[in-house]
Amino acid sequence: MILRALRSLLRQPAAPAIAVITLALGLAISTALFTVARDVVLRPFPIREQDRVAAIWSHVPSRSVPHLEITYAEYELIRAQAKSLEDMAALSAANFDVVMNIPDPVQVRANFVTRTFYPLLGAHAQRGRLFIDAEHTPKSPNSMLISDRLWRTLFGSRNVIGKVIDVQGTQCTIVGVLPPDLNVPAFADVVFTMEPNFINASEADRNNSVLEGLARLKPGVTLATAQSEINTICARLESVNRDQYGGVRKKLIPFVNEVLGTTRPAMITLFVMSLLVLAIATFNVANIFVARAVTRQRDLAIRAALGATRSALLRETLAETTLVALFAAAIGFVVAQGAVLLLTRVAPETVPRIDQVHVSLTTYLFAAAASLVVALLCAGVASLRRGGWMSLREDIDRAHAAQRSRKLLAILAGVQLTVALVLLTSAALMMRSFASISSIDAGFSRERVLTAQLPLPGAPYSDAAVRRRFFATLLDRLRSAPGVSAAGATLIRPLELEVGWDWTYTAEGQTADTQVKNPLANLVAITPGYLEAMGIPLLRGRAFNDHDNEKSDKVMIVGRAFAMRHWGTIDVVGKRVKSGKLDSDKPWRTIVGVAGDVRYRGLMVDKLDVYHPYTQSPWTPQYVALRTTVSPRAAEATLRSIVKSMDPHVPVAAVRTTEDLVEAKIAQPRLNAWIIGVFAAVSMLLSIIGVYAVLNYAVRNRVGEMGVRLALGARGNDLLRLVLREAVFVASGASIAGAIASLFVTRVLAGFLYGVARVEPLTLLAVVVAIIAAALAGSVVPAIRASRIDPVVALRDGTSWR
C-alpha cells in the first residue's frame, strides 16, 4: 500500500515535492512561532490561580502619571482594610543592585518581598525552603533566596543551602533556590525579606514610594469590585491625610498583563499569525492534492469502471497524502528547532521566559496532524465529488466538475494571497516603526562613550562624603589616563531603567494653579564633565564645575524641553526653580545652563530633564561615563585597572557603550519586525507556490481548450495573457479583501507601532503591487507552458478533454 503510494508519487514527483516543501516550511515556521507565543504568553505561570492575582500601583489622575510606586505604609493600610482581597503583598518596584563577595565582588540584581508574598503566589522553593515568619521581622537572621539562574551560573548547581555569603559586608545565608519559571520579582537573582527595612523605620522611609503591590482577590470577587473598594479606601485615606494622600489613587492591573506588559499583544498576534501561515501551507497542500485528484479523475473513473471500489480509490489518495505529510513533518521538525533557536537568540532578554522556550513534540505533532486532516479532507472531497470519477459516461458533468474545482482552487489561492497581503502590510508597518525607533535621537553621542556602574560596597563607603571623594579622585585619574578625553559620573545613565527620579518642582512665578499642572521632571544628579563625556550638547550657559559645591549657591541645568515648556525660549539662564510645590520651603535653584534633551527613561519616553550637581543633592553618583579617543572597549581595561588600584573591592559592573544602551532598547522592536518579516516572507513564498499550483493545474486542465484556441487563430502570447489574466484576477480580489483585513489587523498592531500612521496608503499600494507581482511570479511557469502548447498535440490529447 505505502510502497504503491510512494511509487505513484515518484512517477510525478514535482507536485508532491512542492507539497512536502510547502507543508514542511509552513509547519516549521508556524510551530516555531506558536511555541514562542505559547511559552511566553499562554503557558500559565507557576502561580496558584493566577487569574485572581493583580498588581497594585498608585497613580495621580490630576497629573496623568500612570505608574507610581506605592509605600510600605499604604501596603499595611490597604492590607488591613480591603475586604475583597484574600491577601496583599509587596515587593520593590525596581530591582536594586547588591555586591556579593564570593570572594571576588559580583554585582547581582536583588529585590525584597513581604511575608505575604510567596504564600500569595502559592510558590514553592525548588531547593531548600522559602522564608519563614521569623525572617520577616526586624530581627531577621539575614536570609536570602537565589534564583535558578544564579544557582546554575554562579554556583554551578551545587548544594548551596545553608551557605553563608558576604553581601556588602553583611553575612547572609542562602535558605532556598527559587523555581526556574517564577519570574517575579522579574529578573531578580537574589531575594531578601522586606520587613527588616520598614517595621521600625522612620515615617519618611515608610512613606517612600518604592514598592509594587500584589493582591489576591477573594474567590468570586471581580477586579472591578476590588477596584471600587480600594477607591473607597483611598478616598478615606485622602480625607484623613491630605498631605500624604491628596489626589493619589490606586489601580489594579491583572497580574498576567503586568508581567507580560506589551509583550502580550505581540505574542497573541504572533499566535494568530502562526495559525494563518499554517492555514496557508495546508491550503497549498490541499490545492496540490485536489489538482492531482482532478487530473487523475479519468484514470480513476476507468479503474472504477474496471471494478475498483470507492474505498479502494479513496485509500490510495489518503495513502499518498499521508506519505507527503510524514515527509513534511519530519523535515519541518528539524527546521522548527532551528527557527526557535534563532528566535531565542535574537530576542531581547527582557522578553519574559524567552530562555525557557522549546519546541514540544506534542505541539508539533498536533500542528502536523491538524494540517494533515485538512489536507486529507480537501483531497478526499475532491476525489469523491459527484461528477468526478462516477461519471465516465457524462462528459458534460466532468467538464463542469473540473471547472468547479478550478474555481475552488482559485479561491484557495486568493485566500493565501489575502493572508500574505495582511502579513506584508503588518511587516511593512513594523519595519517602518522599527526604522523610526532606531532613528530617534536619544540626545547623547552613540560613539566612543563608555559607561559603567560602580556600586560602592556598603561598609567603607557608608558615609556620603567618602563616596563623593572616591568619585572625585576616580574622575581625576580617568581624565589624565591615555585614551580618555572626558569623564563624568551620574546618578543614573540614560536608557538604564524605565524608572528614575521624579522631581516635583515649582518654577519662579508660577501660581498654585499652574504649578499643579507641572509634569514630574526626570532628575539626574551629575558631576562636572558628565555632559561633555556623554556628548550631550550644552545649548546655553555653562556646565557644572568644581565651584558648584555644598556651600555655593544652588544651581541646576535644565533640558531644552523644560525651558521651552515654562518660558517658551531656551534663553532661561538665571531663572529660578525650586523643589516641591508652591509652598515648599526648599531653596530656589538658579538655572546656569540649558542642555539638549535626553531620552532617559526609554527611547519613546519624552520627559523634561533636570540636572543637579551631585554636591548639591542627597545622592552620590552610580555610573561613570568616559569619552574616549580610542575604541570605548579599549578604555574598559583602563577603567578597570584604575578602579582596582583604588579599591579592589569595588566592582566595575554593567559596562556598556552608549551604543549598547540604545541597542538594548531597539532589540525588541527589531525582533518584532524580524518575526513579522519572516512570517510575511514565508507566506509570500507559500502563496507564490499556491498560485503556481493552481494555474499549473488550470493550464494542464485546459490544454485541449488552448489547442482549440490556437486552431481558431490564437497566438502564443494570447494564451500567455489568458493565464496571466487569471492570476491578476485572483490577485485583485485578494488585494481588495487584504486591504480591508489590513485595516483591522493594523489597528491591533497600533499599540506597538511608533512614528507610523496606522495604514499608510503608500505602504498599502506597495504591498498590493508586491502581491500582484507574487501572483504573476507564480503564474510565469504555467503561462509560458501555455504559450508553448503545440496545437497538434493539444488537440490530439485534447480529445480526452471534454
Binding site: 458534460i396 467538464a399 463542469h400 471547472q403 485541449g704 481548450e705 482549440v708 484556441r709 490556437l710 486552431a711 481558431l712 487563430g713 490564437a714 497566438r715 494570447d718 496545437p791 497538434v792 488537440l795 490530439r796 485534447g798 480529445t799 471534454r802
Partner: protein, 222 residues
C-alpha cells in the same frame, strides 16, 4: 490555379530507432469553391493531413501551397497570419469553450484577428441570425444538444469569413438526423462559395461533396 495544392507531402515521426510514416507522398489539390471529402479507414492519416492543411503542423516534407504561396518557406509568424486569414476549423467533438456563452464562443476567432469590438458585435449578431441561433446566444455549450453545439462550432469556423473550412468528422458524434442537418448547412455554405474540406467515414456525407480523396496508410489511393 487550385486554392490548395500538395506535392509529395510526407510526414514521419520518430519511432524506436527508425521513423514511422504517417503520410507518404500525398499529392492532392482543392480548387476554390470546391467541396472535397477525405475518406479512409481509421489510422489512415486523415486528421494528420487536415492539421497540416490547417497549418497547425509545420513538421513535414514535400510541397504545400495555398493560393500559390509556398507554406514551407513561410516563417512561423507568417504561417500563423495566413492561417488566420484563410482557415476555419470544425472539430469532431465541437470543442466549444465551456466557460463562454454561444455568442462569446463566436467572438473568439474575431478577437484573435484583432477585429475592433464594434465590428465584432455586428458580425456575431449577423452570424447568429444566419444560423438561426439568436435565441441561444447567451446559453453555455453544456446547455445545448450535440447538434446545436456543432452548429455553433461551424458558425465559429465561418465567423472570420475564411476562404476554406476544414472539418474533421464534423458529424462523428451526432445522430443521423442531426448529421443530415449539419451536412445541409455545409451544402448551403458551399453554394455560397465557401471552399470545404471534410474528413468523413460516411459515404452519405461524402455524397454532399463534389469529390472524394481516399487515404490509406498515409497514401492517396485512386
Amino acid at each position: 490555379m487550385p486554392l490548395i495544392r500538395t506535392e509529395k507531402l510526407t510526414k514521419t515521426v520518430p519511432q524506436g530507432h527508425g521513423r514511422l510514416w504517417l503520410l507518404r507522398d500525398v499529392d492532392m489539390h482543392v480548387d476554390e469553391g470546391e467541396f472535397v471529402s477525405i475518406m479512409g479507414p481509421s489510422g489512415a492519416g486523415k486528421t494528420t493531413l487536415l492539421h497540416i492543411l490547417g497549418m497547425h503542423d509545420a513538421d513535414w516534407e514535400g510541397s504545400f501551397t495555398i493560393d500559390g504561396t509556398k507554406i514551407e518557406s513561410l516563417s512561423a509568424k507568417h504561417r500563423a497570419d495566413l492561417q488566420r486569414r484563410t482557415v476555419g476549423f470544425v472539430f469532431q467533438s465541437y470543442h466549444l469553450i465551456d466557460d463562454l456563452t454561444v455568442a462569446e464562443n463566436l467572438d473568439v476567432p474575431l478577437r484573435y484577428r484583432d477585429v475592433p469590438k464594434r465590428e465584432r458585435e455586428s458580425i456575431v449578431a449577423d452570424v447568429l441570425d444566419r444560423f438561426r441561433i439568436v435565441a441561444k446566444k447567451d446559453l453555455y455549450p453544456s446547455q445545448l444538444s450535440g447538434g446545436q453545439q456543432q452548429l455553433v462550432g461551424i458558425a465559429r469556423a465561418i465567423v472570420s469569413n475564411p476562404r476554406v473550412i476544414l472539418a474533421d468528422e464534423p458529424t462523428g458524434n451526432l445522430h443521423s438526423d442531426q448529421a443530415r442537418e449539419i451536412m445541409e448547412l455545409f451544402r448551403t455554405l458551399h453554394r455560397g462559395g465557401t471552399t470545404i474540406v471534410q474528413v468523413t467515414h460516411s459515404e452519405e456525407n461524402a455524397a454532399y461533396g463534389d469529390r472524394v480523396v481516399r487515404l490509406h496508410d498515409g497514401r492517396v489511393v485512386r
